[in-house]
């Protein structure tokens, strides 16, 4: 049974290729069946595999064939299957299946129905290769595969050039990180002689000491890739723009799976990061900083999808914090719960956008509670889990991260405190969204309610978001046990109560109006801060001036081809010479004779000058 693991990425890949070759000639029902069915069967296989693994937790290493052989470098197309892989595969195929099902209704009127499912299936296949790869090169193949699919799907509605712009931004910004990661791969191979993750970590532990420079450089390069893919500071700017794609795409790629690939990469190579404590500290600091910056930005946005995008950046920041403080299990656990509730929130927003004539502005929504009950409850549960209200799935994972961050030596309490501030903001922005969209006056009337293909995934994800916290992920054998003692009780109580305070604040400000913030918002400094946070701390503005414009200026300089101008000089010189000489082609016989005589005289003179003895 376990040897059939290769079928899991193959089925969506085959379906994707079939859909691509169909050139849109298939009937819609068949396209939907292929698209959803392939991921569904992959999910069923994963489920069977998971049950098998639970009964007999044994790591599987399966080499299909040798990819290439160059000297000692022989990466295989080989899969490695352990608890961590299982968690990732379950999220990808399970949540992926629900999102595919949702898409059949969301995209039902779109002309490019087949293209959509072809891309989406290809994404699932590439993402599965990413998490199942047993060497970093195959992982990199999947890594780039998901990048391409993300590009294709962000720019899915390419008729609007702004979408193409967003797609290019997403691709180029992640590419910066990917380049760092490729350098990291090269460094690891030259130093350790293998890219197989398990033997590489083993070799690293033999040849390197904790705190050496080489593992630090390698980890920082890998972190570069992770930061780009997972939209962390300073490469996070592409994710809010990537919301230009269809909403189920945002749910699958830009919330549940692809953006967590960076978290997976660091967790998978944690053996290396343990050798470089400085790199881990960098991971933690990047995580918590991103988390806070994105949370502030999310609080100011008015586009429903941008709120969720910044929220995703912020939550992945928590995962990075967890990885940085060595809370590997908590990080992966938060990855899973986040996949549930963020997919739920994105699909919920997709349902609203679908039923509200593609309206994105939350201030033009309102009072949707009774009109769209399924979506309302989805948002309630999703926001509760996002805000980590007690007993929801987000509570268990985020609480675990914060408690382990508290025990981190030296700066632990500070990380914990910053994480709490983030949690407060998270509760505020998520319930601001709920109160503005679902309560109050009806501003735009929905023209329909969700059909079953939307309602079913939402309901299942609601259930997962509620009970996901009780799952026990089978990663004990993958990660080293955390050795910290349990912190004082008051730490735990504060961690629990902070989201509730955030909820209360959101209620007082955005629902009951008892807490008036107009004066604060409209004061001079309030306006500046509001603008600053709304623009995402001006980072896009800064990059625009620091990188984009100089690059464009350089490009327009090169457009005139200054290098060619040097060679152009030769051409110009020859042309001038030609023009000058053709002046002598007058057609006058006497002129020719004179020229001949003059030439003869010159030749004779030269000959005499050169050999005087001839005289």
């Amino acid at each position: 049974m376990r040897e059939l693991i290769w079928l899991i990425p193959l089925i969506p890949l085959l379906s994707s290729v079939t859909l691509m070759l169909s050139s849109g000639k298939f009937p819609r029902l068949l396209i939907g069946l292929l698209g959803v069915g392939s991921v569904g069967s992959a999910a069923l296989l994963t489920l069977a595999l998971g049950l098998d693994f639970m009964a007999n937790p044994e790591v599987l290493q399966l080499t299909l064939w040798t990819w290439m052989q160059v000297g000692s470098f022989a990466p295989g197309v080989a899969f490695y299957f352990d608890g961590l892989t299982l968690v990732m595969m379950s999220v990808i195929t399970g949540v992926g299946f629900l999102i595919h099902l949702f898409s059949t209704e969301f995209m039902e009127d779109d002309v490019s129905y087949a293209r959509y499912f072809a891309y989406l299936n290809m994404f699932v296949a590439a993402m599965l290769v990413l998490v199942m790869a047993d060497n970093l090169l195959l992982l990199y193949l999947g890594w780039e595969g998901v990048g391409v699919c993300s590009y294709l799907l962000v720019g899915f509605w390419y008729q609007n050039s702004a979408n193409g712009q967003a797609a290019r931004k997403a691709f180029i910004v992640t590419r910066i990180g990917d380049t760092a990661m490729a350098l990291g791969l090269l460094l690891l191979f030259t130093e350790l002689g293998t890219l197989n993750i398990q033997s590489m970590v083993g070799a690293a532990n033999e040849s390197w000491q904790v705190g050496d420079t080489l593992p630090l450089i390698a980890c920082l390069l890998l972190l570069g890739g992770a930061v780009g893919k997972s939209a962390q500071l300073p490469l996070h700017t592409w994710l809010p723009d990537a919301m230009a794609g269809p909403t189920p795409v945002s749910a699958l790629i830009h919330a549940a799976t692809m953006v967590t690939a960076g978290v997976y990469l660091i967790a998978r190579t944690h053996g290396l990061f343990l050798l470089a404590p400085t790199a881990m500290l960098v991971v933690a600091i990047i995580g918590i900083t991103t988390s806070l910056i994105a949370a502030f930005t999310a609080l100011m946005q008015s586009d429903i999808k941008r709120i969720l995008a910044y929220s995703t950046i912020s939550q992945i920041g928590y995962m990075f914090l967890a990885l940085g403080v060595g809370a590997w299990t908590a990080g992966i656990f938060h990855l899973m719960t986040h996949a549930f509730f963020k997919a739920l929130l994105f699909l919920g927003s997709g349902a609203i956008i679908h039923c509200l004539h593609h309206e994105h502005n939350i201030f033009k929504m309102g009072g949707l509670r009774s009109k769209m009950p399924v979506t309302f409850w989805s948002f309630m549960i999703g926001s509760a889990a996002l805000a980590a209200l007690p007993m929801t799935s987000g509570f268990f994972s985020k609480d675990q991260i914060l408690l382990e961050a508290y025990q981190f030596p030296d700066i632990g309490p500070w990380l914990w405190f910053a994480g709490l501030c983030g949690a407060l903001l998270t509760a505020m922005y998520s319930f601001r969204l709920v109160f503005v969209v679902f309560f109050g006056q009806v501003k735009t009337k929905p023209d329909k309610d969700t059909g079953w293909r939307m309602a079913l995934p939402l309901s299942v994800l609601c259930g997962l978001s509620l009970v996901g916290g009780y799952f026990i992920i089978p990663v004990e054998s993958v990660f080293p046990m955390s050795t910290g003692t349990h912190p004082a009780h008051w730490v735990e109580y504060v961690s629990i109560s902070v989201p509730l305070v955030g909820l209360l604040l959101a209620y007082l400000i955005f629902q009951s109006g008892q807490l008036r913030v107009d004066g604060l918002v409209n004061s001079a400094i309030g306006k500046i801060m509001r603008q600053f946070w709304l623009s995402g701390w001006g980072i896009d503005w800064l990059y625009e001036r620091l990188f984009v414009r100089p690059y464009y200026a350089f490009a327009s300089l090169l457009k005139a081809e200054p290098v060619d101008a040097v060679y152009g000089l030769v051409v110009t010189f020859n042309e001038a010479l030609n023009g000058w000489l053709s002046q002598s082609q007058t057609g006058r016989m006497r002129w020719y004779i004179t020229s001949m005589v003059a030439g003869l005289v010159v030749l004779v003179a030269v000959a005499l000058q050169l050999s005087p003895e001839a005289i």
Binding site: Q585, T586, G587, R588, M589, R590, I593, T594, V597
Partner: protein, 104 residues
């Protein structure tokens, strides 16, 4: 060969002078008739040099070549005058610059 012993240098000088006169005529004159005449002058200048040289070394070759040049010159004049007649008929002029049909 006693009384009239002209040094070779003088012969060559006269010959060169004649050749330059002919050449200048070729370059300067526009009338085709005069151009032909200048050509004749140049040919005869060369022939004179041959005769002078032949006399200087007491060899008959110089005079043999003179006969050859004389024949060539006669043939050339025959062809040249035929062309002149055609040009006169076709262009109604003997000015070489006006008979120019080449672009340039």
């Amino acid at each position: 060969m006693d009384g009239l012993n002209i040094p070779l240098n003088h012969v060559l000088l006269v010959s060169s002078l004649l050749f330059v006169i002919g050449l200048l005529g070729l370059m300067i004159r526009r009338n085709i008739i005069f151009i032909l005449m200048s050509l004749e002058v140049m040919l005869n200048a060369a022939a004179l040099a041959f005769v002078g040289a032949g006399a200087h070394w007491g060899q008959p070759d110089g005079q043999v070549v003179f006969m050859l040049i004389l024949t060539v010159a006669a043939a050339e004049v025959a062809v040249g005058l035929g062309l002149v007649l055609q040009i006169q008929r076709r262009f109604k002029t003997l000015d070489m610059d006006h008979a120019n049909r080449m672009g340039g």
